[in-house]
Amino acid sequence: MSAPLLSFQEVTYRYPGVQAPALSDVSIEIGPGEFCLLAGLSGHGKSTLLQAACGLVPHFHGGEFAGRVTLAGHDTREHGPARLGAFAGVLFQDPETQLVMSTVRAELALVLESRGHGAGAVARGVEEVALALGIDALLERSTHDLSGGEKQRVALGAALAGRPRLVLLDEPTSQLDPVAGDELIGLLRRLNQEWETTIVLAEHRLERCLSSVDRVIALDHGRVVCDSDPPAFLEWAAEGSPALQTPAAKLFALAGLRPAPAGVRRARATLRANGLLPEEVEQPPAPAASKAAMPRLRRAGKPAAALELKGVWHELRDGPAILRGVSLRVQPGERVALMGRNGAGKSTLLRHAAGLLEPTRGRVERAGRVALLLQNPGDYFVHERVGQEAPADALAAVGLAQMAERNPRDLSGGERQRLALAIVTGSGEAPAVLALDEPTRGMDRAAKDELAQELKRRAAEGQAVIVATHDPEFAAACAQRAVLMADGRVIADGTAAELLAGGWYFATETARILSGAGGALLPEQGAELLRARAHGRERAGDDDRDSAGVAPGAAR
């Protein structure tokens, strides 16, 4: 075996002023050309491990560091991130903080210029990395004008410009829509396969990348608890950490099938081999945004709407229209998922719903207060103590009553989200509508499940819930109706089962495995379908044997 490119030897690390170790006795070796996935719940050490690999821990963050990390033979205690940057490119979560120049070309050139490459080498390096990542058309564009996906690609380009042997990525798809996220993972796979670039990727949505990776390293409270190939990881996760199970693995576990599949393709192959793959049915057309296609819930009478947008336009001065005649009616107690690509108009629609923006045409009618939870919960925190941020009863409602004395910025991701929810809902009369803009960004599956339950509880109390999300799994778990937007318009509006079962991108993994059969979106629904199918096959087999006079259980 060749020498490892990255090696951790009994590494334990504590951030300054924190008692609990962020990494605890970590020993791993990653060889050249490997594609590794770091799995684990939020705050369990994935980001810290990546930062230790590139030298930011301990050089940038300080703290107590024990053990040894070597990158391409260089001990990270002796070499700082700048020197190690020649071997490892790093991509963090937020592309906004990774672009430091005004144009894409200058951004890509900066790394090479900083390393003292000549003008010719810089020009060639920029062209090559731009071509490799398919961003050559963006070279002269201003970095400020790029979309989220484009910014992330350019940031990846900057990380790769020096042709590092290792690329470290910390949840690079968390701010991207499903299309841009899949494109990025595809790009990483191509880099790995064609140029043998070693990749270490930390990601929460494992189903997005598990089929592309060679190896999964799971962390729990800073310790490595599983280090294996994807199928073995899924077997381990079923018992050891169900929150890390992918929807496909959960589907198979509930249906009593093995082995747990790493991806849609393998799942379908196993189902096909077992004769359980539903027939390829012609997908019904996506429900149009017309009255006739509205969910039954709407058509059963016409009670007062909690929120109604009537032909709402949002046109920028000297700019394009962000919303183009959007009409949307949400009933009390209804749970609606708002989906679509980045820039489709989801966030703007929610701002109109909450009255933060005024339509340039059309109008918005509200049955009461609209509580809007924006994308970054940290934006709400202006005090030193949780108890100062929200009333006691609101804190109690989200289960944070016992944390009133803590600093909001010390809370975990899920707790911050709950605190922000308590702030916007407030005390006293409940809001008529609860609107949430990308609430699951950077959340692990356990926290998402908690949030979905909380939203269902509020809807059961009569609040209308409307959630803008890129996560089809979360949409399926919390919403009964889904609205798909594109280019400022509502292009489809129907039940979640109708909308999330029939697509490639805006569909759950279960629906993609089962080709949308039976409208099954979640593993539980899919498993029920598969069990019924298996039962049906057994009965059909028994009938065949009876008619042929063959004894039950006899081999064919």
């Binding site: 930011l56 940038f60 700082g80 991130p81 700048a82 020197r83 190690l84 940057g85 020649a86 490892a88 490119g89 790093v90 963090f92 937020d94 906004e96 903080t97 990774q98 672009l99 430091v100 120049m101 005004s102 144009t103 200058a106 900066l110 210029e113 900083s114 390393r115 003292g116 490459h117 000549g118 020009a123 002269e140 564009r141 201003s142 970095t143 400020h144 004008d145 990380a159 020096g162 000297d318 700019g319 701002r351 909450a354 933060l356 207060r369 509580a371 809007l372 939870l373 924006l374 970054n376 940290g378 934006d379 709400y380 925190f381 202006v382 910025r409 916007v424 809902t425 407030g426 809001p431």
Partner: protein
């Protein structure tokens, strides 16, 4: 959400196609002309030339917006000059004793001189705006990096981060508006809000610092010289800058653009004055007529 801040965007125009150094030199020549010349007609011609150049560079609307906003600068200049100037002879209003301002005798000369100074200030604002919208800051900083890498990169970061931090502040303000009780009020509330804004900026700065660390900023070396052939637009704007500068100096030293506001207005308009105006218009705008090779 769109920011109202001004920043460079690559566009298809002859000025954008010229190298940053030439663009900056051209803007510098226009600014120098605005400083050297005083004749109102010549200044108006220069203003028209700058506005037309803005349209030619595809940033005319932004420039027009800057001009409208510039009212908060030029109006006070005219008013203050009218109130404090005592040199004019043509009194058009007597306001009596104005305390610290003395006798309130308002003169036509003071109004005209105030307007000329305001026009010059307005021209400088518009030329600076035009330059910031059309001269690639990265390329400029690349030139400066050869002198001081870290200072230039810090300036580049500041340029890049201004719209980002403005968007952060806007987001934070929006989040506070969604509180049922509204944004925190009173002095304590404002201090808390300010603390949150500063805290957010520091978090942002830490993330950017981490990015720069792993990109090798600590071991950065001087940017390499990158030879680049002179395009038709580089040459055209360089010649334009030279012509504008020559005409401005000519206007300053000769009598064709002479102007005195006090004690009485003296602004003769001769054939030479008109020729100077036309010359300035042509010198500024001719490079925009060649639109070959722009992208």
């Amino acid at each position: 959400m769109r920011s109202s801040l001004l920043f460079y965007r690559r566009m298809a125009s002859p000025l954008h196609a010229a190298r940053a150094g030439v663009g900056a030199l051209w803007a510098g020549a226009l600014a120098l002309a605005a400083l050297l010349l005083f004749h109102p007609l010549v200044l108006v011609a220069l203003l028209a030339a700058v506005l037309c150049a803005g349209w030619g560079a595809g940033v005319g609307r932004t420039l027009a917006r800057s001009m409208r906003r510039g009212a908060i600068v030029w109006l006070p200049i005219v008013l203050v000059n009218v109130l404090v100037s005592r040199e004019g002879l043509t009194v058009f209003a007597r306001l009596g004793n104005l305390g610290p301002f003395g006798q309130g005798e308002l003169t036509v000369e003071a109004v005209v001189y105030g307007a000329v100074i305001a026009l010059k200030v307005m021209l400088l604002i518009l030329i600076t705006t035009l330059a910031s919208l059309t001269v690639d800051p990265d390329e400029m900083l690349r030139i400066l990096r050869r002198l001081s890498f870290r200072s230039a990169l810090t300036a580049s970061l500041a340029t890049r981060m201004i719209p980002v931090l403005a968007a952060d502040a806007q987001r934070l303000a929006e989040a506070q508006r969604t509180r049922p009780e509204g944004a925190p009020r009173g002095a304590r509330g404002r201090v808390a809000l300010l603390g949150a804004v500063i805290g957010g900026s520091l978090d942002r700065a830490m993330d950017v610092a981490a990015t720069l660390e792993v990109r090798g900023f600590a071991t950065a070396r001087r940017a390499p010289r990158s030879p680049r052939p002179w395009s038709r637009h580089d040459v055209a704007f360089l010649l334009s800058a030279a012509a504008v500068l020559a005409l401005a100096i000519l206007g300053r030293v000769s009598s064709v653009a002479s102007f005195n506001a006090y004690p009485e207005i003296h602004a003769p308009v001769s054939v030479g004055t008109v020729a100077l105006c036309l010359g300035l218009l042509a010198a500024v705008l001719l490079p925009f007529t060649d639109r070959r090779g722009i992208e």
